[in-house]
Symmetry: C2
């Protein structure tokens, strides 16, 4: 007896969506039934766009939203187009109303109630009305500076304070990330960008801090504070898509702080730069919990951001299909896990 | 409007159960409504047994199973009496039939289908018939060498092999653990104990290996292999409850191996000893995943076993109450988390 494959549509075939497509093509019991894009790429073969041999697989042509996202056309859409909830809202709505589950890689969607409580309620209503689920996930937010922290507190009787530090290399990333993080610009330009709000830096601290505080039952007093500083290089640094002269900006150091009863309880520390090893910086992910007991975790080097986000979004597909309807977060669903077997075996009857 | 507290019964007030009681007494929105014991302790005050001031709380007297475990007498029983599924089965059945959820600290119960598939089916049937849930958890098995491994694979596109290493100190533990692990005996006595099966060592490798392999979809070929070696001390070592002369046994080094298609894919490495630092051994928890990407995690020092198990069992109470009925494992439920707020806020309507 043959069971039907899990059917996936990928919306946005950039670095993340393209990586998810390549990952899915290597997995059993799952197939890509559609890809959504815009402009000149419409009508082109997904395999050509990915640079992957089609072999004896059916071709998948990139199509418009209207052509590809039709009622129950797939079990899940992987939506890889945005960083912010408000920009992805209408796309999510479009999928949910066609009774298709959604996994979003938008950073804010990892905990949309943190900054968009009204849109979250609306998405939850639409999802439940249509009997489907929407989840935001990724490596960070989604795992390293939030879900992993929460999981480790599970071994604690009491928690006094939490520090999550992610020291990572931006060298593998492309031109969009170089621009968002201010790589190669002068310190003056960086400071102007911070002032005018044109430098994105890392998106996700309000989401990670709220995910942690809600999970363990800390009520935050006041807003989550954030700071952004340039990492000024003392040497010439060059990565495939980035370049910084000595004296210019090689990275962006962001911090975030959550307060309980006015006391700083959650600290996020996330310096991102190209070629960190040129100045002796060792990359890694660090979680420091002060409590009963203290827990000091490190992952060295850091879990790479690109592969990590691709894997998290794909690996959560079965949990999202199995979930009760509504807006879900990583706090609601079982732990993520690699899928080395047949994806159909993970779908509940 | 006052909501009712979450009601807990603790069965077995030894080091683990007693620790859970003390932890619960510090938490909001939860109360201990009964403690089950045997022999002379029946009729004694839980507070006296714990050495905790009662204050203005109602007294709780230790009672027999029959007196304390009555229909719906509590939301959950914390069962802290056994290491093996078969020894705890009848106690679990007794609670489930009285429509009370169960959290068991028995190591084998962390993944009972690994060694007791028939008893697991039977427990699942009884739990579902009575609309309640049973979960086994603890620090290990339960988190460090299994759930945490699984969670980290969530960031992986592919997994080639897994090593979980827990190098811990037994110094804080009592006489029962000293005896189970062979602390202080001669190497000949140790080897005889291994041969005759009288040395328990660590209980949990089959459970941890199966939890990992089932989670990521590896089908194990053949049995999980285990080995047990003495850690022979070169120096005199002494802990509160243990003592080993130079040349005698200061600990027990266990390994476990899981095979896929005949190839060793999962390695468990768990040397446990008193006073490891006397010979320069640094304790810690280590997870090494070879795959895409590689992940190298360490927690130093190790998450302590006693506090960790106490915290995991208590912290999972809300998830167990909220769960659909049946036998559940840590793979099925949302991630564990510390409870710093009111436990009632975590119970779904």
């Amino acid at each position: 007896m043959s069971r039907e494959n899990v059917k996936v549509i990928i919306w946005g075939l950039g670095a993340m969506g393209g990586g998810m497509a390549k990952m899915l093509l290597k997995k059993k019991g799952v197939e890509i039934v559609g890809v959504v894009g815009r402009g000149k790429k419409i009508g082109m073969s997904m395999f050509d766009l990915l640079g992957v041999e089609r072999g004896d697989r059916e071709d998948v042509l990139m199509g418009s939203m209207e052509d590809v996202i039709t009622e129950k056309a797939a079990d899940v859409v992987l939506l890889c187009t945005d960083s912010f909830t408000k920009n992805s809202f209408e796309k999510i709505q479009y999928c949910l109303e066609r009774k298709i589950n959604v996994v979003s890689s938008a950073e804010e969607m990892a905990y949309p109630m943190a900054q968009e409580p009204e849109l979250t309620k609306e998405m939850d209503r639409i999802a439940k009305e249509n009997g489907v689920t929407v989840l935001g996930t990724g490596i960070n937010p989604g795992l390293i500076m939030d879900l992993l922290v929460v999981t480790l507190t599970g071994a604690c009787e009491e928690v006094d304070s939490i520090t999550a530090r992610r020291v990572n290399s931006l060298s593998p990333f492309g031109p969009a990330v170089m621009e968002e993080q201010g790589i190669g610009i002068t310190v003056d330009e960086f400071n102007k960008g911070v002032e005018e709000g044109t430098l994105a830096g890392h998106v996700g601290f309000p989401e990670s801090v709220r995910m942690i505080s809600d999970a363990i039952g800390w009520e935050l007093s006041g807003d989550i504070k954030q700071s952004m500083e340039p990492i000024v290089s003392n040497v010439y640094r060059k990565s495939p898509y980035g370049e910084a002269k000595a004296g210019n900006v090689a990275g962006c150091a962001m911090k975030g702080f959550g307060y309980v009863d006015g006391e700083m309880k959650i600290e996020m520390d996330h310096p991102q730069q190209i070629e960190p090893e040129l100045e002796g910086t060792n990359t890694g992910d660090y979680i420091i919990i002060k409590g009963t007991p203290d827990i000091n975790m490190s992952i060295t080097p850091e879990v790479p951001g690109g592969i990590g986000t691709i894997a998290m979004c794909v690996n959560m597909i079965p949990h999202v299909i199995n979930s009760r309807p509504g807006v879900k977060t990583m706090l609601d669903l079982p732990v993520p896990r690699a899928i080395m077997g047949d994806m159909r075996d993970l779908i509940e009857g």
